[in-house]
Symmetry: C2
Subunit: 312 residues, 2 copies
């Protein structure tokens, strides 16, 4: 379930006018901006952007960027983009910046449905004038490239069928490969990038039944290089993406200095989807409310905005 | 330009009834079947199939399969399917039969537009309850797998932009790899599976300018294994798919015993698209009309059907 609290709206034009009011004078009225945009769903936000453009001949997102700044600006920017567009930006930043955030690419590729991932690839074309896989492939090599390109280009079957024989043989392939890290990465890549999620979950379950430990825990014991880190992220996202997001949030707030990118990414991306479930998982796991942690670790308008999206 | 001559139709229901008439008695009236279905476009054929199902509670394609046989049946079956469905079947047959017709997979992946290829992947899900790349990957290994999976999962950018620097450096990468066959296939795969077709054609042109020979001719000199054969097909299809199809037809009719699969595939697939251009290329190259060759090399209803699709 979502955390976003959607307020009923008179009209997109009225919202656009209220935003224009908030931009007036020295320093924008951030409270007013949050009170409007922090309570509109994805459809409403696109309509407001359209209305703003029509009335003021100016892109609302560009205006917001010039009015607000820092983590608040970055989070608001992602919030205002359409989901496919936002994910295209997240992948592009992950590829092009120096920090090698490959896990963000794996996360998007593995959490989205087949059609949602296609929408991201289409958005990538429009925005960057090349294909998503082109940029991923040009900035990686070896088995990391194979794995990442395979994940972002997948169009997984989404039926419920499970092939028990495959889950057994492929659990063994995964085990052999994870055991000795120099194992057959080619087959691991094939399995992870082409099988349906339902089939993969059956394979992971089989792995745990046979070896008494989940494959993601097993990988964690050994993970060091980028390939194995991406493998780990992909498996976690396919297995249970809410649990995965809970951990991203936990790491983000626990980290010295707070990882604002991770924090914003999960909250902005999931607020309209399943952030309520993720919040509950967070409380179960940490015995503290996510909102309280966010309150403690962030400040100012950025904090207000995140708490608004968290449904506070 | 297309070769298909579309006749105006009173109604799909009337066509369905005429077909039902043609099925009556001992042996179907193949002439009547060709006179109808050989002159209907893809939309009309789907409407006839729907009308037939409604009136007779029977799938027209299944009925056709039981009424006609041999090469005629196979060609008619492909003709009656929607294009994306037909290509899904062609890929599946190419993967699953023993003859390893990998070039058919490369052909479909490289000739179709990004959205058309997606439609084939969707059709594959519906028909085979798994993903296309899943079947391709499970039935191949090594660099052949990487190349084929990369081709079928590509969603190429379709803008006109050309990066001159890339075309230069990547023409060199291709040259180095083709020169010594043990070259860097990883980079060749990256280039062939992710760059836009416009960019690739610029790269191939650059190759020819630098080395005085086209890359596909160069590859042909050396081609022996499946990987290099698929590479050759992919390059030819991206470079000029009409010239490629002309050669498939030429090989099909010149072959001892005639390659009916290749012949039917090209004629059925291109009759509504650009078979007229391919026919003209054929005449230019061979100084003989394709229709005359088809007349000589085939017989019976199969021949009549192909000639009808060829616009005779």
């Amino acid at each position: 379930m979502a955390t976003l609290v959607v307020h009923s709206q008179t009209s997109s034009a009225q919202d656009a006018e209220a935003l224009q009011q908030a931009f007036k004078g020295w320093g924008a009225d951030d409270k007013a901006i949050i009170a409007i945009l922090g309570h509109r769903n994805v459809h409403q936000r696109q309509e407001i952007r359209k209305a703003y453009e029509e009335i003021y001949q100016e892109d609302l997102i560009k205006r917001l960027e010039s009015e607000i700044s820092g983590d608040f600006e970055r989070a608001m920017y992602r919030w205002m983009l359409q989901p496919a567009d936002r994910d295209a930006v997240l992948v592009n930043v992950a590829i092009k910046n120096g920090t090698k955030d490959y896990h963000v690419i794996a996360e998007i590729a593995c959490v989205l449905s087949a059609e949602e991932l296609l929408a991201v690839r289409r958005a990538y074309h429009r925005r960057y004038k090349c294909s998503l896989e082109e940029d991923v492939a040009a900035n990686t090599t070896g088995n990391l490239r194979q794995l990442l390109v395979g994940l972002v280009t997948s169009y997984r079957y989404e039926g419920d069928e499970i092939n028990v024989k495959f889950s057994q043989t492929e659990a063994n392939v995964l085990h052999e490969s994870v055991k000795e890290k120099k194992g057959n990465s080619e087959e691991v890549i094939r399995i992870l990038t082409t099988r349906s999620k339902t089939q993969l979950v059956a394979t992971f379950n089989r792995y745990r039944d046979e070896h008494g430990i989940s494959i993601s825990k097993k990988l964690l014991d050994q993970t060091s290089d980028d390939f194995h880190k991406v493998l780990h992220t992909a498996i976690r996202c396919i297995n249970d993406h809410k649990k995965y997001y809970e951990k991203v949030l936990r790491n983000a707030v626990k980290k010295f200095g707070t990882d604002e990118d991770g924090l914003s990414r999960v909250i902005v991306t999931r607020a309209e989807k399943d952030l309520k479930d993720i919040k509950e998982l967070y409380y179960k796991r940490n015995s503290v409310h996510l909102e309280d942690e966010v309150s403690k670790e962030t400040s100012g308008d950025y904090k207000k905005f995140l708490l608004t999206l968290l449904g506070k």
